[in-house]
Symmetry: C2
Subunit: 357 residues, 2 copies
């Protein structure tokens, strides 16, 4: 085909949707029409994409008529209802939600790792991974290709914007409420008390205050005390990397960072691997930036990574007591590579392979 495909962005007004519009506006323009779609509440709003004003349309079956590619960033239950409708109307759907990720008929794609999987989509749906999993996939995929990944032990440091616009707003509110009090955070419950006095009760963005705290919980409760986010990290890593028996243990923790997820990763490989091997591979990986010079204070950190596209890797160390094992630290912007960027890249991959002659 030679006509440019029509794109629909569903969930255009959210945290990821906002970044998605920026990303699409800043990259090579591969689309014809771009439709912005959101809940009825946001319909009629005017938003910018590619420097042009676009009126937001309410989610309805008809908005997908003539759409070639639809990128969905909406809650799981909205995807469950609307993704099949969009696919039925002929759109190839790239879905950010958790709804279809583990469906064997839906490929789960990270373009740097398993681009070929995107072509095989019997339901017309491609899923994009959870943002925590995504933060490390480009790096782990590159290392796996040469050394064969066997085991992952991961602890996360997850940003509040993983919970959307409300997550960032909540942390800003908390920081404003606590600033200036130079004893808060020194006795049990004092942070809760100040926030209750100043912000009131009833906020349920997070299960506990995040400012001056870390909250060892992300997602919903699953079997045997596991949080959904921890199981996603295990199951999605296995599917993306194509290692069905990859051993994974993860602990997911929310930290007072606005945007950019970080992961401490303990990775065991089939074959002997050195720090020099890892450096060579990570330096060559196109969407990975190696920042690993602790003598000069150089390691990946959210405040330096936020707002940029790559995955940053540093603190690469040979585990002293575990054979074929590296310890490393990874950061990725959870709204960009962790969400919008990966979806945009899947869309571009499909456009490049299927829509250009």
């Amino acid at each position: 085909m030679s006509t440019k495909p029509t794109l629909a962005l569903v969930g255009a007004t959210g945290a990821v949707g906002t970044v998605m519009r920026e990303i699409i506006s800043g990259r090579e323009d591969v689309y014809g029409e771009i439709r912005l779609v959101a809940s009825a509440r946001s319909a009629g709003k005017v938003l910018q994409v590619r420097g042009e004003d676009v009126v937001v349309q309410a989610l309805a079956p008809e908005v997908f008529d003539g759409v070639d590619i639809a990128i969905f960033d909406v809650p799981d239950e909205v995807s469950a209802t609307w993704v099949p409708i969009a696919a039925e109307r002929g759109a190839t759907v790239i879905d950010k939600s958790g709804t279809f990720r583990m469906n064997p008929q839906v490929p789960l794609v990270v373009p740097e790792v398993n681009p070929g999987d995107a072509a095989n989509r019997p339901l017309g749906i491609v899923s994009t991974p959870n943002c925590t999993t995504l933060s490390m996939m480009a790096a782990m995929g590159a290392l796996h290709e040469e050394f064969g990944l066997k085991e992952l032990v991961v602890a996360s440091y997850q940003a509040v914007s993983g919970a959307g616009v409300a997550g960032s707003a909540r942390l800003y509110d908390e920081v404003e409420a606590l600033a200036g009090d130079r004893t808060v955070g020194t006795t049990a419950g004092d942070v809760r008390k100040v926030l209750q006095n100043k912000l009131g009760d009833g906020d349920d963005t997070f299960p506990a205050p995040v400012a001056f705290n870390v909250v060892p919980w992300a997602g919903s409760l699953k079997e045997d005390g596991w949080a959904s986010e921890e199981l996603k990290l295990r199951n999605e890593s296995r599917k993306i990397l194509g290692i069905p028996d990859l051993k994974v243990s993860a602990t997911c923790v929310r930290v007072p960072v606005i945007t950019t997820h970080s992961l401490a990763v303990h990775a065991t490989f089939e074959r002997e691997i050195t720090v020099a091997d890892a450096h060579r591979i990570l330096e060559a990986a196109p969407t990975v930036v190696l920042v690993d010079d602790p003598a000069n204070g150089i390691y990946p950190m959210p405040i330096d990574v936020v707002g940029t596209d790559p995955t940053y890797v540093g603190r690469v160390r040979q585990a002293l007591d575990f054979p074929n094992t590296l310890d490393l630290f990874v950061c990725g912007d959870n709204l960009r590579k962790g969400a919008a960027l990966n979806a945009a890249e899947i869309a571009e991959l499909i456009v490049a392979t299927e829509y250009t002659a």
Copy 2:
């Protein structure tokens, strides 16, 4: 002996020293005279301990004359010089610094784990562990006793007061400078820029801003890219638990929390262990509090733990892919159990076994 021993607190004005005076004032009074000792700069200050005013004395060999037990919380190099002087003058020294911890002639003691080691101190010195190691020792010691610990993979979430009073002051400063700006933390370098404008350059409390950030570094650079704090966690755990070949990998990360270190721990045992086993053991461990009911939002967090003595453990999960392995989350107040409390408990142990008839 029936007279109560004389105690000297060296480093009485620091972050740990302040908590130490509180702790000693709040526990059973086992001491006769208590001397407060600090650098010449602080000499003459009047501080409270046991509800009484005490004039701070400058560090000098004579202050140790007649002292039975001296608790040191001072930088490594000050301990290196002054601990032997105090020991020579006849004091039993309990040293919080890293200087003597790995010396084979110096026991490294956590009273819940290896109390017997405190009696065997040929140099008259007992060391107390690094605060990060200490945060998990009571819990891991209890589990080890019954199931035999083999491997630890640890990621830390370390509070700023681990770097002393200056650490807390720096985070309060940063939070004040950033509060009210509801876009900061969303583009690379913006946190650095605001802090530079408002607080100026030149602060070197931490290698990078901590507010709205996580910093994967604690301590000094050691061989092969390891940070000193990560190696301490390995070497000190081995010595305290009496497992010379314990396999340990740790990644230490500073987070914007005032006080209380947290650890995500992946622990492998010699024998099969269930969550129920771990719950039973941790509930029975006298200085451990089990807080493990995620269905009701109950897990250990710094804002609930700070200012209290126990180690809190939660999020206990059976690793899905690793035999004999648990994943769990531990919090401990780094100034109390992580520092002052452990030293006070060692002192009390020595008083109880050696000074009471």
